[in-house]
C-alpha cells in the first residue's frame, strides 16, 4: 500500500492550544462588546489611510516648486538647485514618514494581539460568536461556522492570526518591514521629483518650464491610469483626474510664485 499525500493545510509540527487564564464569569457583557466594536472601527479607519504613491508626491511637489521658483524669474541654476534640494528633502521626508507609519502598524498589531488575548480572557464567548458570525457571513452554514470557531483556538498562532485578520482586517504577514517601506518610498518620490527637474539640466527659461509641465503631465497621466486600473476604475478617467489635480496645483503655485517674485524679486 502506498502512502497517499495528506490533503488539506500543512499541519504544524506540534499544535499549541490557546490556553490563557479565562475569567470564570463574564462581568460586563455590554462593555466587552462595545470595546471590541470600537477597536474594530478604529482599526478600519487607520487601515484605510490614503495609499499615496511616492511617485505622485514627488511629481506634484517638484513641479509646483519648480514652477514657483521659475515664476519668480529665478535663474536656471537656482531653479535646478531648488528642484534638487526639494527632491532630496522630499525623498527623506517620505522615507521617514513611511518608516514611522509601518513601524506604528507593527506596534499597533502587537497591541491588538494583546487586546485580543485580554478579550478572550474576559469574554471568550464574545470572540467565538464574532468569529462564527463572520464565517457565516462568508458563506458557511451555522454549524460549520460554530464548529470552526471553537476548533481554531486549538492552535494559538493560527487562531490569533485568523481572529486578527477577520475582526481587525490586519494580516501580520502583510505588514512588511519599516526599512523596505522607507527605501521604496524614497526611491519612488525621487523618481517622481526628477521628472520635472530633468529639463533644467539641459536648458532653461520658458522652454525648460514648458518641458517640465509636459513631462509632468505625461507622468501624471501614467500614474493616474495605473492607480485607477489597480483600483478597478476607468483608466482614462483616473488619468485625466490626476492630470487635472497636478495642473491645478501647478497653476496656483506658479501664480503665487509670480506674484511673490514680482513683489520681492
Amino acid at each position: 500500500m502506498t502512502d497517499l499525500p495528506v490533503r488539506g493545510g500543512k499541519a504544524p509540527a506540534r499544535v499549541r492550544p490557546l490556553r490563557i487564564p479565562i475569567d470564570p464569569r463574564v462581568t460586563d457583557e455590554a462593555s466587552d462588546s462595545a470595546a471590541l466594536a470600537a477597536r474594530v472601527a478604529q482599526v478600519a479607519r487607520g487601515g484605510a489611510r490614503a495609499a499615496v504613491l511616492g511617485v505622485n508626491d514627488g511629481l506634484v511637489t517638484n513641479v509646483c516648486l519648480i514652477l514657483a521658483v521659475a515664476g519668480a524669474n529665478a535663474s536656471r541654476t537656482n531653479v535646478r538647485l531648488a528642484g534638487f534640494a526639494s527632491l532630496i528633502a522630499g525623498s527623506f521626508s517620505m522615507a521617514a514618514g513611511e518608516w514611522v507609519s509601518v513601524r506604528s502598524q507593527v506596534e499597533l498589531f502587537s497591541g491588538l494581539l494583546d487586546e485580543l488575548r485580554r478579550l478572550v480572557s474576559r469574554n471568550p464567548r464574545l470572540i467565538l460568536d464574532e468569529l462564527s458570525a463572520h464565517l457565516e457571513a462568508t458563506g458557511f452554514g451555522r454549524e460549520t461556522a460554530q464548529t470552526a470557531s471553537t476548533e481554531l483556538p486549538l492552535d494559538e498562532p493560527r487562531f490569533v492570526r485568523f481572529a486578527a485578520t477577520t475582526l481587525f482586517g490586519i494580516n501580520p504577514d502583510e505588514l512588511g518591514s519599516p526599512a523596505t517601506a522607507a527605501g521604496t518610498s524614497l526611491a519612488n518620490f525621487a523618481a517622481g521629483a526628477l521628472v520635472p527637474l530633468v529639463p533644467w539640466f539641459f536648458t532653461g527659461g520658458v522652454l525648460a518650464t514648458w518641458l517640465s509641465i509636459v513631462l509632468t503631465g505625461l507622468a501624471s497621466l501614467v500614474v493616474g491610469g495605473i492607480v485607477s486600473r489597480s483600483s478597478g476604475r476607468g483608466v482614462a478617467r483616473g488619468a485625466l483626474r490626476q492630470l487635472a489635480i497636478v495642473a491645478g496645483a501647478s497653476a496656483v503655485t506658479y501664480g503665487i510664485g509670480r506674484a511673490f517674485g514680482t513683489a520681492v524679486g
Binding site: V15, P17, R19, P24, P124, T144, S149, T150, P153
Partner: protein, 155 residues
C-alpha cells in the same frame, strides 16, 4: 459517533482530584458525558461554563454531568478550579475510552491529539439515548435539557 440505543461503553478513569470515576457507578442516574478537545481553551471553557450555569437544572432531572478529555488530571484540575466547575473532569490519557466512544480523530488530522467535541446522553440503565456533535457550545445545555424532559416523560 455511537448511535442511540447502543450500550454506553464502560470506563473507570481518574477525575481532576485523582479519584476514580466509573460509568457503572452512575447507574440509576442520567449521565451527560461531554467530550471536549482541550482543557482551558476558549471553546471548551464556554461549553463548560454553560453546563456549570445549568447545574441546578441538570440536578433537578437527576442527570450527572461528566466532562472527559485526553488532558492530564493536573490540567483538568486547573480548568475545573478556575472555572468553578462542580462536576468531574476525567482524563483518558491513552485515548482508549475515546476509541470506544468513537471520538478519536483520524491519525492524519492535524488535531488528532484532541477528541471530537461530542456529548452523549446516557440513560439510568447505561444505554446511549442521544449523541450530539456539539457546534453551539453555549446552547448545548438547553437542547440536552429539552431532550431529557422528553425522554423522561417517555420512560
Amino acid at each position: 459517533v455511537l448511535y442511540p440505543g447502543t450500550p454506553a461503553p464502560e470506563f473507570t478513569l481518574p477525575d481532576q482530584n485523582g479519584n476514580a470515576v466509573s460509568l457503572a457507578g452512575q447507574r440509576g442516574h442520567w449521565v451527560l458525558l461531554w467530550w471536549y478537545p482541550k482543557a482551558s481553551t476558549p471553546g471548551c471553557t464556554v461549553e463548560g461554563q454553560a453546563l456549570r450555569d445549568k447545574a441546578d437544572d441538570f440536578r433537578s432531572v437527576d442527570c450527572v454531568v461528566i466532562g472527559i478529555s485526553f488532558d492530564t488530571s493536573a490540567d483538568n484540575k486547573v480548568f475545573a478550579d478556575t472555572q468553578e466547575f462542580g462536576f468531574a473532569l476525567l482524563s483518558d490519557l491513552d485515548h482508549e475510552v475515546g476509541r470506544s466512544y468513537e471520538v478519536r480523530r483520524r491519525p492524519d488530522d492535524q488535531y488528532a491529539e484532541f477528541p471530537l467535541r461530542t456529548s452523549y446522553l446516557i440513560d439510568p440503565d447505561g444505554v446511549i439515548r442521544k449523541a450530539y456533535a456539539v457546534a453551539d457550545v453555549a446552547g448545548q445545555p438547553e437542547g440536552v435539557l429539552k431532550d431529557l424532559a422528553e425522554l423522561s416523560a417517555g420512560t
